[in-house]
């Protein structure tokens, strides 16, 4: 317990990740209100053997075999009978839903909602997304069967952790996360980044801006201690990415300033078994992301993927002379304390990330184009101030730094080869500009969901028509 909130009353996936091996997201329709309400009541209660209990944000001693959480869409709130007066108190972005925010989110061209496969082709029918986490498939199957008795299952997406905490494109992920006041997270003991106020992610608590509060949707019991989630099915073109690294490295081999990007004596510090071409591929990948693929921050170790002295995976900031390019994925989505045009916005557009990969293994030596990618959850207290603010002005468009304005995130921005651009930084402060790369990540579905507190779930369960 603590003064700010009761962890027993929060859904568990907001403040901490479960680090399970598998996830199954069920896209559900409320086809029978009474059954749905009964399910929610029992799920919040956690006493039924037939209905999975909502996993709470408690510091458990022994990890449950299955963790179970739900997110409710705006249409879902309506389907559960929420009064229209209360629906009106939810923010516009959420009420419109992800598909209607497409242009802002870069979901055009092949990523446009018109091309999303079922069940995301009928966004209004998706009422609830239930997320099941476990290390063993049998628990996922068993729970899915229980859920299917109360809801219509419109679609299923299965995700898993790739070995070594990697994601497709080969990077180690799940290193940086916001760190909250009032929350103890053993995974963050060595992190020394500024702490984020709880209102970054939970409604009803102080935010980064002194005095500024995000409205709590009404009634209070429904809104308070809830969070908003952007669930994204992001297809990653792993083959396209590796092919591009080949091409870029080949161009860099003959580039007159190539040695300023990677000194010949540093090649072996990038990878013992790599030739110059192979090492240059890694440098390009590292600058595009902001981390080497093994997770070492580029900012702290610009010349070596394997630095002789250990460097902190999390504790650093950016400056005007940073080696981590302003256009790198990580620096775009979290400029930390570095210089940005929107001077007040440092550390304000924070996102909690919970994601797992989907699709078959990828072998970089034997590249195939099968569908694979990331099932990402981007959680915060306010879409406009966080998720959308990051995606429309920083991740794409690059408004935060005049050097990159007009360009998109090289890893996952809405790029087209005709206009794409990314500047590699050199030791002498110079730049090498890369062009001609395609969009490596396409949107294949998603939804804006509200992650209600336990009291809110009980409230939803007892609404009567």
């Amino acid at each position: 317990m603590n003064a700010a909130f009761n962890p027993e009353e929060l859904q568990g996936n907001i403040l901490r990740g479960y680090r399970s091996n598998m996830v199954r997201h069920l896209m559900l329709e409320v086809s029978d209100r009474a059954k749905a309400r009964q399910f929610l009541a029992a799920s919040a209660d956690g006493t039924s053997s037939e209905i999975p209990a909502i996993t709470r944000s408690a510091n458990w001693k022994e990890k449950p075999k299955l963790c179970f959480n739900i997110g409710v869409t705006f249409e879902g709130l309506r389907a559960l009978g929420t009064a229209s007066r209360d629906l009106d108190s939810f923010p516009l972005e959420y009420a419109e839903g992800m598909a209607k925010r497409a242009v802002k989110l870069g979901d055009f061209g092949e990523s446009a909602p018109e091309h999303w496969p079922a069940p995301f082709d009928q966004p209004d029918r998706i009422h609830i997304i239930a997320s099941l986490y476990s290390d063993e498939e049998q628990y996922l199957d068993q729970t899915e069967a229980q859920v299917a008795k109360a809801f219509t299952v419109l679609g299923v997406r299965n995700g898993r952790n790739l070995p070594d905490n990697k994601v497709f494109f080969g990077y180690v992920d799940s290193i940086s996360q916001p760190r909250f006041r009032h929350v103890f997270d053993p995974a963050q003991i060595k992190v020394d980044e500024p702490k984020d106020p709880l209102g970054t992610v939970l409604l009803g608590h102080p935010t980064h801006f002194e005095g500024m509060l995000f409205s709590i949707p009404q009634p209070d019991v429904l809104g308070r201690n809830g969070a908003f989630n952007a669930f994204r099915v992001l297809q990653q073109d792993a083959k396209g990415f590796e092919d591009y690294l080949d091409k870029a490295a080949t161009q860099l081999l003959d580039h007159p300033k190539g040695d300023l990007l990677l000194a010949p004596e540093d090649e072996k510090r990038v990878g013992k078994d790599l030739d110059r071409h192979g090492a240059l591929r890694e440098v390009v990948a590292a600058q595009m992301c902001g981390r080497w693929r093994n997770g070492v921050p580029y900012e702290l170790s610009p010349d070596a993927q394997y630095p002789e002295k250990e460097v902190s995976p999390t504790n650093y900031s950016y400056t005007r002379t940073s080696r981590c390019p302003a256009g790198a994925h990580m620096r775009r989505v979290n400029p930390r304390g570095g210089p940005i045009v929107q001077r007040v916005a440092n550390y304000s557009r924070r996102l909690v990330r919970r994601g797992m990969s989907y699709g078959p293994d990828f072998d970089p030596e034997n590249r195939d184009g099968a569908e694979r990618g990331l099932l990402g959850n981007f959680i915060g207290a306010n879409y406009g101030a966080q998720f959308e603010a990051v995606v429309c002005d920083w991740l794409n468009f690059g408004l935060q730094d005049p050097e990159i304005t007009g360009t998109n995130d090289p890893l996952l921005g809405a790029n087209v080869p005709e206009t794409s651009a990314f500047e590699l930084t050199l030791k002498d402060g110079g730049r090498i500009r890369l062009n001609g790369f395609p969009r490596f990540v396409k949107t294949r579905g998603g939804a804006y969901t509200f992650l209600p507190s336990l009291p809110a779930i009980r409230y939803l369960a007892q609404i009567s028509d």
Binding site: G106, L213, A345, T405
Partner: protein, 238 residues
């Protein structure tokens, strides 16, 4: 067509200038149309676009209706701004994405006219986050302002209110107005295709819901550059 239609043609062409016809259109025909084909009020500000050049130097034409439109009320509004103008300008500077901004008193409105880069709600949110309570004085004097007081605790509502009072920006090509109207009504644009001839009528009907509009996106002397890019090139720091 031709002049040889004689008096009838001449007469029809002169209709818009004839008193009885003006009377009939104003009090009977247009109200009837508006009733038959109501046009939802179109939202203010530039529309979302994926073109980088559309995302810099965006225009805000914010018309804030005064509660008290007497000279005293108008003077109060002027004072509320004048007293805080330094802080407001310092706040705009901190937002970092603003090219220019000024305040006008026009008829019964206090207007804020500004040119900014990037997303509208980010601009307004960062603005409120930096200037804090400075805008609150003004909020007491404009219609609908109480519900937004203090602004810091009502950021989302404040953003929605500003958007609702920002002028609708008619598309640069008049014909696109029809598509914007389609979208607002939840139809797919141009299906079925519109007759070009219907444009003036649609404009008249739209002006019923949006009394004041901005005509197109306006002129830019250095299109495509953000405020920070200009500052950077001038070497004045961003």
């Amino acid at each position: 067509m031709s002049d040889d239609g004689g008096w009838l043609n001449n007469y029809v062409n002169s209709l818009p200038e004839r008193g009885w016809f003006k009377f009939l259109s104003k009090y009977v025909v247009v109200p009837y149309w508006v009733w038959r084909e109501p046009k939802p009020k179109l939202p203010g500000g530039p529309r979302p676009s994926s073109q980088p050049s559309d995302n810099v130097q965006r225009m805000m034409n914010l018309l804030m209706p005064l509660k008290d439109t007497s000279p005293i009320g108008r003077a109060k509004a002027v004072m509320a701004l004048a007293q805080n103008v330094d802080e407001i300008f310092a706040g705009l500077d901190n937002v970092g994405t603003v090219h220019s901004a000024r305040f006008l008193l026009v008829e019964d409105y206090i207007c804020m006219i500004s040119v900014y880069d990037g997303d509208f709600s980010n601009y307004i949110r960062d603005f409120i986050a930096t200037i804090g309570s400075v805008f609150d004085d003004l909020m007491h004097l404009v219609e609908g302002g109480e519900a937004l007081y203090p602004c810091e605790d009502h950021v989302e509502e404040f953003i929605d209110w500003v958007k609702a009072h920002d002028l609708f920006q008619a598309p640069d090509y008049a014909i696109n107005l029809l598509h914007v109207q389609d979208e607002a009504a939840g139809r797919s644009p141009d299906a079925p295709p519109h007759e070009l001839l219907s444009l003036p009528r649609e404009l008249i009907l739209q002006l019923h819901s949006n009394r004041n509009i901005s005509l197109g996106g306006g002129y830019r002397g250095y299109p495509g550059y953000s405020a920070a890019q200009v500052r950077d090139k001038l070497g004045v720091g961003w």
